[in-house]
Symmetry: C2
Subunit: 452 residues, 2 copies
């Protein structure tokens, strides 16, 4: 399907009024039928929620679910509100309990309650089990629908059991093995059972168990779980009893959301949690205005610093020419360090306890970078503005780079330690800090060297 055809469809959808002729709708329904599922998702993500809901209404039941499942929970909530809870209730029980929980978190309370009421008691229980764990934990993202398989079962028995319960559990490919009190013993896989002699017992086919606690932090768990390439792993409670399965697709959703959040925050805005083109302009403004204002207010610090050195500036206006260059370079060095450390924290490569190690590495990196730029800056400034200015610029660059890298490396870890988002410190705040601190270093050196 060529992108231009998608664009034509999106345009058609946008032109539709809310009471489009049934003939137009029937035509659109036919066109949607011929599209690959990812193209349908594309159309929904390129229009606002009202139009997205209109498109969703025209899909078959199976396709509705596939498309709905692929959307961000916030976008799902927008669509549910546009469709009305009645229209979505029939799909709600088709979602996994963990997906249902994420969606409920994003819906207004009264709609969430309404949707919950439509569930049968089994689905309701499963949903409440998941909702019983705190946001941001593994338990909140696991499926409580797991088979109970005991080590003494034969392969043949287990395969028969799985055939019966296949539709009622999250996955039959990765199988947790438990004692009768549900204590986790290990895992096995359908592939192992499938290729094994039917008279063997499950106990003979158990692999080393890789598992998580339901109360573990979801993001940290995802970072070590996904590289292992497992489809799923068991989740246990504090007494090592099986309570659910955590699957790669939920892990992936968590990671993508966290990465989007880190990306937005490092650019000084709040994450949209929905596709850009389906986000209204005023929501874009709201996602940015607070950070922008906070940063502008902290930038008043630089006005203050410069005000203090105004007499120095008056005596040597030439100094003001280098202000953006010096603050920019300091900001860039600080950013480089902060971005690298923030990503390493997110991937779990660096921990809070590594702060000393990180600062020592970054101080050396900053000094080397600063020395290289400092020599270049010295030569250039000397050639154009004379030796004293050359010395001021060269020294300032070296010191500013060393300071910025060290502080830039430390800030994300400090942020994490006090429970703030490291990504916020990887760009916006580091830049503001380096601006103010860099100016102070600059003018102190200038006063000393120029004797003013």
């Amino acid at each position: 399907m060529a992108d231009t055809n998608i664009d034509v469809l999106v345009k058609n959808v946008k032109d539709f009024s809310h009471n489009a002729h049934s003939k137009e709708l029937a035509q659109l329904r036919d066109q949607l039928k011929d599209l690959r599922i990812n193209d349908v998702i594309d159309i929904v993500e390129r229009t606002d929620a009202a139009r997205g809901a209109m498109v969703m209404r025209l899909l078959s039941r199976a396709r509705f679910l596939s498309v709905f499942d692929a959307l961000d929970p916030n976008h799902q909530a927008d669509i549910v509100q546009a469709l009305g809870s009645d229209a979505t209730a029939e799909y709600f029980d088709q979602l996994g309990p963990e997906d249902r929980a994420q969606l409920l978190d994003e819906l207004p309370a009264e709609i969430a309650e309404e949707m919950l009421r439509t569930l049968d008691s089994e689905d309701k229980d499963a949903t409440y089990t998941v909702l019983g764990y705190e946001k941001g934990t593994v338990g909140r993202h696991m499926s409580p629908e797991v088979p109970e398989i005991y080590p003494e079962y034969t392969v043949e028995e287990t395969l028969q059991l799985l055939r019966i319960i296949a539709e009622d559990v999250e996955t039959i490919y990765t199988l947790p093995v438990v004692k009768h009190d549900r204590t986790l013993v290990g895992v096995t896989s359908l592939k192992s059972l499938f290729t094994a002699d039917g008279s063997k017992t499950i106990g003979e086919l158990i692999d080393e168990p890789v598992y998580a606690y339901a109360t573990d932090d979801a993001e940290e768990t995802v970072r070590w779980f996904l590289p292992l390439d497992f489809l799923a792993m068991p989740v246990v409670d504090e007494s090592d009893r099986l309570v659910g399965m955590f699957t790669f697709d939920d892990a992936h959703d968590i990671q993508e959301r966290e990465d989007s959040e880190d990306s937005a925050r490092s650019g000084a805005s709040e994450p949209l949690n929905r596709p850009y083109l389906s986000t209204p302009v005023m929501r874009l403004v709201r996602s940015r205005i607070v950070w922008l204002a906070v940063l502008a207010v902290s930038a008043l610090l630089t006005v203050q610093v410069l005000d203090t050195f105004e007499s120095t500036l008056e005596k040597a206006v030439v100094l003001s020419l280098f202000i953006p260059l010096l603050t920019g370079t300091g900001g860039n060095t600080g950013n480089q360090a902060a971005t690298t450390v923030t990503r390493s924290l997110a991937l779990g490569d660096v921990q809070k306890r590594d702060i000393g190690l990180v600062m020592w590495r970054e101080a050396r990196v900053g000094l080397i970078l600063g020395a290289v730029l400092g020599v270049a800056g010295f030569l250039l400034a000397w050639a154009v503005y004379g030796l004293p200015i050359g010395i001021v610029i060269g020294t300032t660059l070296t010191l500013v780079c060393t300071m910025s890298a060290t502080v830039g490396g430390a800030m994300p870890i400090v942020a994490k330690a006090v429970g703030a988002d490291p990504a916020v410190f990887s760009n916006p705040f580091i830049t503001t800090f380096c601006d103010a601190a860099g100016l102070i270093i600059y003018f102190l050196i200038a006063k000393a060297v120029l004797g003013i």
Copy 2:
């Protein structure tokens, strides 16, 4: 396993000389045995390649493979070179063909050839098939080891076939169905077969095929494939003939690598592609120095701009006080727009053809943000520095924000269109551009308002 124990082990490993006593090594081997696999990976990722290789040598064959599989290809290559190709050759044929191809890409040519020679002809063929596709395509990341299942097979026949070939194919959970000329018909799953009546034919169990072309761009494919939550999908050639399977774990590796690259570039450094703590300091310097120098050179533009307006500055030194505030706010606004659009491009929410749409949205967002900050800035500057300065600051903020958001939104798309990395433009270049352009706007307004 508490983190502090891991730290003790890492410290032990670091203290080992390369000819550690066999007694110490035996002790370390025992300690490693008791660790969960993710803790072993943690230790390898927190030491340099030589030490990591030493730890790897002490692992059982199965654990060696699990740990090795979880590392970045570049880090794998470092470890292979530290271990020597002889020591790793025995594990090399245990990797999937697509993982083998990624590793070979990162090894020096002579070592890569040596490793390839150790493979039997079947493994060698599979590897060459993957290496035959260009870097960055789906073909380069697929497994060519797929079963051939025909629609006329019965479920019973297929299950028997799968039992025999289970170990030789990438996955038996997602099953491509083909005609006798290997044209893809659709997919089915082991779960469907497993719960179906044995006398049914495969043709009755086929789902809508979701697939990719081997020559498709891997990153773009991953962005639509992962949200669908599939374990795997078939890959076909230009005649729609099955050539391989693309699995969620390879998709995940691609996405994580791309996100790390975007994160590094948006912070003006090159991606490390290996864990921070196992990266030598000089490699950190190398990943940053070029970008930093390029940005410093482009920042010379700001010196140039200020030099042009030096007489204006001399007449009103007070103007220099606001330089960091104004350039900083412009940079932040540009960053916000650029970061949002870069992430949307990466997720596939925004396409190159959307540039007009994006600029129009960002111009409105920028104008609103600028108007809010402009009014605040006007009032504040008026109160402290008088009405004319208030007017200059207020007007400049409004114009600079509008310009920065519009340009910031457009730049990543322009970068992508000309084949550059959008992430580079999301922070470093936008900042430099906004600095210079913002200063010009500032001084032109100041000259007009103050009449100097």
